[in-house]
Amino acid sequence: MPSNNPDSKTSAAHGTPAGVFSSLTLEEMQAVARKLRRHIVSMIGKAGSGHPGGSLSAVEIITALFFHVMRHKPSDLCWPERDRFILSKGHAAPLLYASLAECGYYPPEELATLRRLGSRLQGHVDRTCTPGVEMSAGALGQGLSFGIGVALAGRLNSQDYHVYVLLGDGECDEGQVWEAAMAAAHFKVDNLTAIVDNNGIQLDGWNRDIMNLEPFGKKWEAFGWQVIEVDGHDLSRLVDALEKAKRVEGKPAVVIAHTIKGKGVSFMENKVDFHGKAPDAAQLELAMKELA
């Protein structure tokens, strides 16, 4: 697994002399993923509300992006050449907040303020509040359109940054996702990669029972996208898939990451109930033990 950062001699979490975040090794990323899971469960437990299921399912996706694939500078939020990450499934805010903290955008202690009055960490992501958050989200289906705009601006400005948009699979019920899918292919936006956290569950139940998305990959293909399917909890394969997606030319690419909702906490895994429910005190203790 090659580093995407030629300056990187070490894998220290706080970057190279230029301030560009250094790519971590596989072992280091695995440790980060465990840490992010602990943050997620503990933040949501403390807040007493939030969405653990869809945060836990996307931990490896975000880890691969922020700690290996993406070029970014936690010390310079407006660095023009930074790769852009857009969290379209805005309810996975705790996961993004934890990752940004671990990258050094703000101190991890701040994670305890999630959803509190006056906190920079809002219930759903808000670009006006949190350093490193590129787009406000929460109402589903809007991130891919926004990402196309960011990608088109990069093309107009001859900048070579790449745009990553993370969607939920349930989110793809929204018609706007497919308007955007059509447009991205039409405009030949190849500096954008969509990633779908394909955990199979939405708020009311399993996707296949609530609103069937299949044949999911074929739909994206029919809309003109390069489709790459991958085990969304295998960091090594995820990194390869994301780097392969970035190299696709002349059309956009989507990485369909097959994941498990609530991954890592036994009693949350594949449980519809933990889409949007915080663990109680006993569950929190148990979960933290499992994630130790």
Partner: protein
């Protein structure tokens, strides 16, 4: 007769002019560029023009992404589709993060005419007024439309600019300068203030002429800036004239009349009459026929003035 010019044609040409000066200006449309007149820009700057097809939600989302990346996007379609069709996209992707997107809708109100109620936007100002932090401009003629568009391009933040389909008489000359949050005083008067917006400004001026011959002195204000709103001009009008008539080509709910009534009730209660569409949809017909049937003419303003002056005497 003053010269008649279509606001949307003036807008389309202004985009080209601004595009030549500022490479960051980009334009989006939703398959209506020949009607919204963004096609002028498309022709001169094909790489900076994005026809998003018949997909307004996606269009405003792309505009938000462009704005977040330093571009100055102008997105256009009919007023019935924006902000209506893409309300939540404007709300979350543009209004909440206060992004620098300029929404310029054409074909607002009932002067769309024969296309009928599906195409007559009479609720758009209520929708746009509900976004905290938005700038809203309803120009009264083509000269003001160009001024507003140039002002929007030069000012950071989200804008909704509401244009109409038909040609309309010019009330300003080239020396006019649009000021945000400022009413433009077109006639001084002491008996009543007529506060109008959009195409109704011309009707207000006509009404004031008729009333003048009856010895009624009307102050006429063009309230093109609905957000920010010139509360002071309304206060002054209420204090100095003691009676107010508003006029707009929009529902009575959530537009100019309801804003003026809120301010008057809050600071200086005086009788107010609202000339607007009364809680109904219209129908297909010629624009002039509709303006008459739905009560949006100089005659309706004149009658409202007479009523409000009667109420003032009580």
């Amino acid at each position: 007769m003053p010269q008649e010019v279509a606001m949307r044609e003036a807008y389309g040409k202004a985009l080209v002019e601004m595009g030549r000066e500022n490479p960051d200006i980009v334009v989006l449309d939703a398959d209506l560029s020949k009607s919204t007149m963004t096609h002028f820009f498309a022709k001169e700057f094909p790489k900076r023009f994005f026809d998003c097809g018949i997909a307004e939600q996606n269009m405003v989302g792309i505009a938000a992404g462009l704005a977040a990346s330093g571009k100055i996007p102008f997105a256009s379609t009919f007023a019935v589709f924006m902000p209506g069709r893409c309300f939540d996209q404007v709300r979350m992707s543009i209004a909440q993060p206060r992004l620098n997107v300029k929404l310029v809708s054409t074909h607002s109100g009932i002067t769309v005419g024969e296309d009928g109620i599906s195409h007559q936007a009479i609720e758009d100002l209520a929708l746009a007024n509900s976004f905290p932090g938005f700038n809203i401009v309803v120009p009264a003629d083509a000269i003001e439309a160009v001024q507003a568009v140039k002002f929007a391009a030069a000012t950071d933040g989200p804008f909704y600019i509401r244009l109409v389909r038909p040609k309309s008489p010019l009330i300003y000359d080239e020396r006019y300068r649009f000021e945000p949050g400022k009413a433009s005083v077109l006639r001084e008067g002491v008996d009543v203030a007529i506060i109008a917006t959009g195409l109704m400004v011309v009707e207000a001026l006509k009404a004031s002429e008729i009333l003048k011959s009856d010895g009624i002195s009307c102050r006429v204000l063009n309230m093109s800036s609905l957000k920010p709103f010139d509360e002071q001009a309304v206060n002054t009008a209420a204090t100095e004239t003691g009676a107010i008539v508003t006029a707009e080509e929009h529902l009575e709910h959530g537009g100019l009349g309801s804003t003026v009534a809120r301010i008057v009730a809050k600071y200086h209660p005086v009788p107010v009459e609202i000339v607007a569409i009364k809680d109904t949809y219209a129908e297909s017909a010629k624009p002039d026929e509709l303006m008459q049937k739905y009560g949006l003419t100089a005659k309706n303003i004149e009658q409202a003035v007479r009523r409000v002056i009667e109420r003032k005497k009580r």
